[in-house]
Assembly symmetry: C2
Homo-oligomer: 339 residues x 2
């Protein structure tokens, strides 16, 4: 079987570590593997299939001979993206740097796999909150055409990386032991609190996170007519984002029909049996690759309304798993540059 | 100054304790005070204005000579409500037992104070999530007529009383110390988790909590044409409920206009300055009596849309404060039975 040389940029962070784990779990045909990061993490040793790999400082030459460059996030893809492409690697970028670039496909493999085919060297991985949203919306949109979506998010601290996780743990201990709290990563204490502010504020007082959910959803579903409005909120949960999603469709869709559509869509697991107290929760979605949907209810406040509750591990499906699935599509469609 | 005899039924619980505190803080003209509860709490001593009061077992005679009976919650008002009324007390009931009874006013003093005037002995205090919602909706409804509301809640564990608080603390310690968790009050672990299930499941797979937000809102605003749909979620926060509220009005209302309307409405505090990272959060709303509103944004996914974020202490404004405010209205309007 043909193998592919893979470099991970930002390998030592939360998403980078998960990328490594998922390449292994999904048995991606890795040839040569290179782990890169900033000087802060260089020298660190990480394991892949029981073999040690030393993290190197990213340089343009890190991409020599590589087929696929997985960028975990941050500004690295701005700095090294074109160097990677020039050297023949296809970049799969988890940052927001290129997502809205019309020359860059924004891909969720269950939703718009064909878009990988027109890449020009870079493919963007959508924002975590968007990925699980569009997976849920796609079967409904195909069946009944979505008119409008109102979404409120409940986002885990690991969306802010490992420092976010450590901050929640540290602050939680401090609250329980009556200690002092000094927020670092989040603007206010997150332990036993909610912060309705993720990423920076932009137009009309919406945050960048909220705009991402609007714009990326329209781009991935190829439909600027889908109206989306979002309120994004950080919650004291370690892992997995949750979303209360209200959907208005052009054609009426029953809860029963929605449930069937979700059940037959790849990557979705329906957990929806109120009588048995079964519904998705972040605690049970973590370390899973699927998007979990429950609380499926007709919304009779409008003629064609639907409410759903969507939970997914935002480090896996919301980032690393989705990126590796894109790599798999590149192989399947023969869209690598050295193919 | 005339004084009024007050009995608190369920005095030892979270809401009962808060009622006592608020009667003191607001200098309610308390004459004789009687504290009642079930046999489990009888004998307990509680302080009011530095005087000790012993908690007694509730009996029909607990209401002899009382002007106002504050029922903290639960089934007590079903058991003793009519006995209280027969003895000349006006019942202010924090339970859901009588809220949808057409013969019982459901009152939020800032919103529909006049409704106390037609009471027949019992006045119902609305559900905590509803109270803060209708305070936010009222000025918008008066100015631009509300057509539809989509709300997602983030509800604190103290909504389930003191046991809810203890369960969050116990489970949080267990998670940090790698211990075992056995849920008691909540159906699943709540520490570092979210549970999209509050109260029992009912029609169309909505929970009773969700239906309360629909039906009580319509009753309080005297307008069954206001369409409401809700998703209610328990979050690992000790105190204060938060709500992401999307509002569609008949007339267009700008964010600026909405902000002015909120600012001039009694009981509302606007915290909304994204540039200075100012928005309401449960940590800072707790132990306050006001409803805090921020993240006020026009929602351009529809012609007349508005998004807001509403936070309030659900034990105070969502329960005890609202009940004492109703008692104040009864005094002000001369609506007590012995007046």
């Amino acid at each position: 079987m043909k193998k592919f040389n893979v470099v991970i940029v930002g390998a030592s962070g939360a998403v980078g570590q998960e990328l490594l784990k998922i390449l292994d779990e999904r048995n991606f045909p890795v040839g040569e593997l290179r782990l890169c990061a900033t000087s802060r993490s260089a020298g660190k040793v990480m394991l892949f299939k029981d073999q040690p790999y030393q993290v190197e400082i990213t340089t343009p030459d890190s991409f020599n001979g590589m087929d696929i460059a997985l960028f975990a996030g941050g500004i690295a893809s701005k700095e090294f993206g074109s160097a990677a492409v020039e050297r023949g690697a296809v970049v799969i970028d988890n940052s927001s740097n290129y997502r809205m670039d019309p020359a860059v496909p924004l891909v969720v493999p269950e939703v718009n796999p064909e878009d990988v085919k027109w890449h020009q060297g870079i493919i963007a991985n959508p924002n975590c909150s968007t990925i699980q949203l569009v997976v849920a919306l796609k079967p409904i949109h195909d069946a009944a055409k979505i008119k409008r979506v109102v979404v409120a998010t409940y986002q885990a601290v690991s969306g802010a990386g490992r420092e976010g996780i450590e901050e929640l743990t540290g602050q939680t201990r401090a609250v329980l032991d009556q200690g002092e709290i000094t927020p670092k990563i989040f603007p206010y204490p997150i332990a036993f609190n909610l912060i309705p502010h993720i990423d920076v504020f932009m137009d009309l007082d919406y945050t960048k996170e909220e705009w991402k959910m609007v714009k990326e959803t329209q781009k991935i579903l190829h439909d600027d007519a889908i109206a989306v409005t979002a309120t994004t909120v950080r919650v004291p949960v370690y892992r997995s984002h949750s979303e209360a999603v209200n959907i208005e469709t052009h054609r009426k869709i029953t809860a029963q029909e929605a449930k069937r559509l979700f059940e037959s869509f790849p990557g979705i697991v329906v957990i929806d049996d109120p009588g048995a107290k079964l519904y998705p929760m972040p605690l049970f979605a973590s370390n899973r690759d699927e998007v979990f949907i429950g609380r499926i209810r007709e919304d009779n406040s409008i003629p064609n309304g639907l409410n759903i509750w969507v939970v997914a591990d935002q480090i896996r499906k919301g980032a690393a798993t989705n990126a590796v699935q894109i790599a798999e599509l590149l192989v399947e469609y023969g869209c690598l540059m050295n193919n």
